[in-house]
């Protein structure tokens, strides 16, 4: 399949004395959708944040399309622009309207003209079904709308891959569906996606692979049918039982 989109090699991360990632190895191929599941505190967010170097790994390597982002000499900003990231708390820029939210990084990072950036913004906003919200400020949007704008903002950079960190966890239950639908559309269009989620339905139906993380290591990695229906590890079974009971 050529060079993987993301390749993680023996990644370790300490916060002080606490070893949060204890040797992670895995790859995401171009066009693949990988869901990461696992209990709270298992290091899922930390892993995503090490992939685009919001967090510095203690040791190990992360290769983005073959380029080592953990290498101090690498152009982090250019590599980050290839990786769209969507956060649990949306993190839209509250002092800018939706149009500016979508154009500012196109202008400052990609050097696009105002017209070109606005045109891309309009296209991406249409993709998430929010064309009519272009002049609104984030505070006037619902959580689901804000999260869709955040996805559109990331897409405006024409990323080669997208990472999602529990992007529906902060939403009211009735707003979860619209965001998952946008993500499903993206997956159908062939976007490479690394998704941390508690939405087992999404993992089952959309993911090519599901990864179960526990205490900083990958316990299991395989097709959703296998991991979700027939896990080999007792820890995975326990986790799935808990998730089902709590009705995530």
């Amino acid at each position: 399949m050529g060079t993987p989109a993301i390749e993680i090699r023996d990644l370790h991360k300490y916060f002080g004395d606490l070893e949060v990632l204890r040797g992670i190895d895995f790859e995401v191929d171009t066009g693949e959708v990988v869901c990461i599941i696992g209990p709270s505190g298992s290091g899922k967010s930390t892993l995503l944040r090490c992939v685009n170097r919001l967090e510095e790994a203690t040791s190990g390597h992360v290769l983005i399309e073959g380029e080592d982002i953990t290498d101090p000499a690498s152009d982090v900003d250019a590599l980050r622009a290839k990786i769209g990231m969507v956060f649990q708390q949306f993190n839209l820029f509250p002092h800018l309207d939706v149009r500016k939210n979508l154009t500012i990084s196109q202008r400052k990072v990609l050097g696009r003209s105002q017209d070109e950036a606005a045109e891309v913004a309009a296209r991406m906003l249409e993709r998430v079904g929010l064309t009519d919200k272009i002049d609104e400020y984030p505070a006037r949007l619902s959580g689901g709308q804000q999260q869709r704008v955040a996805i559109a903002r990331a897409l405006c950079m024409n990323p080669d891959m997208m990472m999602f960190d529990e992007v529906t966890s902060a939403l009211d239950p009735e707003l979860v569906g619209e965001v998952l639908q946008v993500m499903r559309d993206l997956a159908d269009e062939g976007m490479t996606m690394l998704v941390v989620t508690h939405e087992m339905g999404f993992a089952r139906n959309v993911a090519d692979r599901v990864v179960f993380m526990d205490e900083g290591i990958i316990m299991e990695d395989g097709p959703p049918g296998e991991i979700l229906a027939n896990p080999k590890e007792e820890r995975t079974r326990e986790f799935l039982r808990m998730v089902l009971e709590e009705g995530f």
Binding site: F87, N91, F93
Partner: protein, 267 residues
Amino acid sequence: MVTKTARPIWKHPRFVPGIMYGLLVLIALLLVFFADWDKIQSNFLKPEIFRDMFPEVLTIAAKNTLIYTAVAFAAGFVLALVLALMKLSPIGPYRWFATSYIELFRGLPALVTIILVAFGLPIAFGWRIPFGTAGKAAVGLGLVAAAYMAETIRAGIQAVPRGQMEAARSLGMSAPTAMAYIVLPQAFRIIIPPLTNELVLLIKDTSLLFVVGTTPASKELTKFGRDFMTTTINATPLTVIALVYLMITLPMTSLVRQLEKRAAKGR
């Protein structure tokens, strides 16, 4: 029918405020009664001195006060922004420098700083600050104001959620770009009320420039008033400059209140 139990008067909800108002009226009456109105009139409110002070009290003194405030604020703000960013820098020596600077200039009386800048610098380095009193205001008061504003700006930057910087960085923005376009605009919104407060304090601190602004054209309000007092041997100039100060500061403090109200509502 509900029988009303008799309530002792001191339990009445209006009792305490009532007493306070009563005291206030009493004090006001005593002041009016015991004040020597003739003396007050002849010492603080002499019409001919009032007349003599105009228009210079406005066209020179008040104008100078405003100019000195503006240049000191501008210089102080730029320096404060640099200090705030240094204080938040991952590089240790920058942080130490900013911290020492802030401690030093907050620890010194502003007057001492002004004297050091105006008279110490030329002796020590043979360098005279250009642009007369305005230049000394910018450097002397600016150095002091920067120390106070730096802490305000730092607090504003830290009040912007971390996720803002992270979202900007994950879109590929460099740290300076993200700071300039995403974090600082939000930080400034947060700190407009406290910064306006600093501005009001600075207006009053320009009175310390009496040690350097001594020529007729460079006097600010306080120096102008004091000199007028000396020549007239009367306190009326004090009343005049007090009124002029209030004319400048009262609108500003009410602006601060409005900004704070708006800040509390928004977000």
